[in-house]
């Protein structure tokens, strides 16, 4: 099942050099699942950035704004990593489209796990103040859960995540986003016992 697409481009160069090649570990390989994971994370993260970017204009509380600011920085850096990895492996680099994952030859972006539907995005965009906080935290928990689902799907695919950067990227997404889910769950609970919900 595992389709071996190519070896690391850099390793192909190593074999052609004049210097004797040391008995180093075998070249890492990657699969279609790895490409799908990395490419899919671009649209996924792009949506998180759009959501978080609304905090200042949608009257979010300072703590939600701080969270959003960090999400924007973190996910923008990860998009840059993903795009560069695809470029270096001569794979199609999808645009950072907050509507979803753009595949070559397809007209409409597809939603990756946890991504908000256009209706949910509109609902969030329409909210202000405390209601924005509540919806943002609810939707971003859903969004982060989706990223963790993507990691689980990747690791359940034969041959996937053998390459160091992919495993590291997936493990970091898993650790960081589950930590943030825990934080957001507590923020949401604190909000629930506050002014709007009871």
């Amino acid at each position: 099942m595992a389709t071996l697409l190519a070896v690391l481009g850099t390793w192909a160069c190593a074999a052609g050099g004049s210097r004797p090649v040391a008995p180093a570990p075998a070249p890492a390989s990657y699969t279609a699942a790895d490409v799908h994971f990395v490419a899919g994370m671009i649209g996924h993260h792009a949506q998180a950035i759009e959501m978080a970017g609304w905090a200042p204009t949608h009257d979010a509380s300072p703590s939600v704004r701080a969270l959003c600011e960090r999400i924007v920085v973190a996910q923008r850096d990860e998009i840059a990593f993903a795009q560069r990895w695809l470029r270096e492996h001569h794979e199609f680099v999808p645009p950072a489209d907050p509507r979803g994952h753009v595949m070559p030859g397809m007209d409409h972006p597809t939603l990756m796990p946890g991504m908000l539907t256009p209706e949910q995005m509109a609902q969030l965009d329409a909210a202000r103040g405390r209601e924005f906080d509540r919806l943002f935290l609810t939707f971003m928990i859903q969004h982060h859960q989706g990223a963790i689902t993507m990691v689980e799907q990747l690791l359940a695919t034969p041959g996937a995540a053998q390459e160091g950067p992919i495993f590291r990227f997936a493990a970091d997404v898993n650790a960081d986003q589950s930590t943030e889910i825990e934080r957001m769950t507590r923020m949401l609970t604190a909000l629930g016992s506050g002014p709007t919900s009871p």
């Binding site: 850099t10 190593a14 210097r19 570990p25 850096d77 990593f81 650790a175 609970t189 016992s193």
Partner: protein, 670 residues
Amino acid sequence: MSVLLAIGIQSAAACATTKFDMSTTAPNPDPRVGLRAGWFDAGQAAWNIRLVSTTPPSEQFINRSAPGDFQFINSDLAFVGPYVIQGNFSGLQVWDVSNPKHPRLHRAFVCPGSQSDVSVYRNLLFVSGEALNGRTDCGTQGVPDTVSHERLRGIRIFDITDIANPRHITDVQTCRGSHTHTVVTSPSDTANVYIYVSGSAPVRSPNELAGCSTAAPEVDPNSSLFRIEVIQVPLAHPEQARIVSSPRIFQDLAAPATHGEAPEDIAAAAKAVADARAAGGFVATINGRDRVMPPQFIGPRLDSIVKARGGSGAPTAADSAALRAALQNIVDRFIAAQRAGRPDLHRGPTQCHDITVYPAIGLAGGACAGYGFLLDIRDVAHPQRIAAVADSNFSFWHSATFDNDGTKILFTDEWGGGLQPRCRVTDKREWGADAIFTRSDSTLTFQSYYKLPAPQTPNENCVAHNGTLIPVPGRDIMAQGWYQGGVSVFDWTDAAHPREIAFFDRGPMDSTKLLGAGSWSAYWYNGYIISSEIARGLDIFELQPSGFLSQNEIDAAKLIHFDYFNAQDQPKLVWPASFVVGRAYLDQLERSHGLASQQIAALRDGLARAERLSGQARRDALNQLASQLPAEGSGAAPSGGVDGRAGGDAAADVKIRALASVLRDLAAAP
């Protein structure tokens, strides 16, 4: 403005001068900004530190045609005798650093499986494996199958009696693999050594390792999440190493006090509470913080009070008073009921990233995802959480370091996992930094953040990472690796005002893109700071005397000798009775104006005279000197010292006491 002589740009040889920078001002502009990019030819900047040697990775651990090749990332360090064991995503390298100017490769041991976090105990070497490609036979072909008994995720154990030929003893497989681990010694159990395993990667299949489960603990009490693993290694039979407990140290974690939940938040909330109180509003305490209860919460409850007294219409002032009196109880019950239906709120984080144990004081600092923990480890196999802190500026609690007294603890935030550039001018100073807490019993109190002061480029991965104390008596000084931010040496004696006193940095690997590199860890070991450079190999540094650190203080630090050293198993530092320790304290008293300069001069003379004597004459001289020390509270410390800290008589008294103790110990020496 003094001339900064010790800034060695480009070449360590520039530092071979006997002149040092004795100023107490950091170089300005910061020479770390604008360094030339390069792999082995990057520009360098150093301040109060000297690069003694830099040794590229051995041939089996480098891909010269691919700078920053992820397979060959150098990771953490462990030390035994003259050897440095350097983990690598493809195995480990053993360096003989008997001559720090010329480290020699003693053994390159290929065994892929990141991160290869390493530690040692006597003849045993422990190596962490986490990635999917790690094999039990150390083969390089990876493990493509999703379920395979050839996969190693956990702890590899080797016998290094002959360190040139590590002999594999056994593996202890764990459900989440081992991202890092901590060797724990128990003062009361000398037959065993223990390992705390921290695994932050996803849980493996139960078909690969029986019993592994991703279910919530309410569904499966044996869930592999929300716990750490404790391995017991019988020293007489290390092959019988096994998991003896899986402590759920996260259980029932109440929302801890959150420092700095955005300062504007705190100010706005405090004002709202004050305004509400003034206007006769309803205020209750939730999670330790006063909150104004909203009309939606108050309205229905007032109505039911009206109804309960058989009334109707608008509530009276008496109704409001009745509700106000009962409000806290009502809110507490409401929150308890809300939480009861939310088991996820009781679980806490799913893992720790790293745990630093300090067996001499029976405590550990756990850096566990969204929290910093204080653990009681007196029962080694059953660590208990005794305190937890969180911080809205902290993304991912990564590691912990105690001061030598155990009254302070420093946590790091590895925001972004170490491969992201989080020291850009645009990145906040409180993010991806160290957080320093003071400890009183089981109460941790936030004091300050410390972040690498020099901005780095977007092409340099940079965030707080691994470090250890530098054993300067009387001060808390630490060396820390900041990936491509380089090595920063800072003083956190004053927990509220940490300050950098030395640094080393290189330019980025590449001026056009981010390639993973930099100092993974910078640890003090027997007189030197040894840094594992992810892409450039092994760096060895020596501190240089400066306006912040005297030669006597450096020499006193060099008195501390370890036979072996694991950074996460923090040893108690005890300095031998020595004249140089006394001089180090005198230098500190001089720097802080803790004693008048005439007193300092007289004590230095007296110490030098005593050192030239021997036998009873020396003992008499030392005792006399001790008796001449000023009494408590008489330290001439009217104001802040040169380093700008509050001088304070108390700090001077502590040092004078320490000095007296050194003198008496020297007098009592045979």
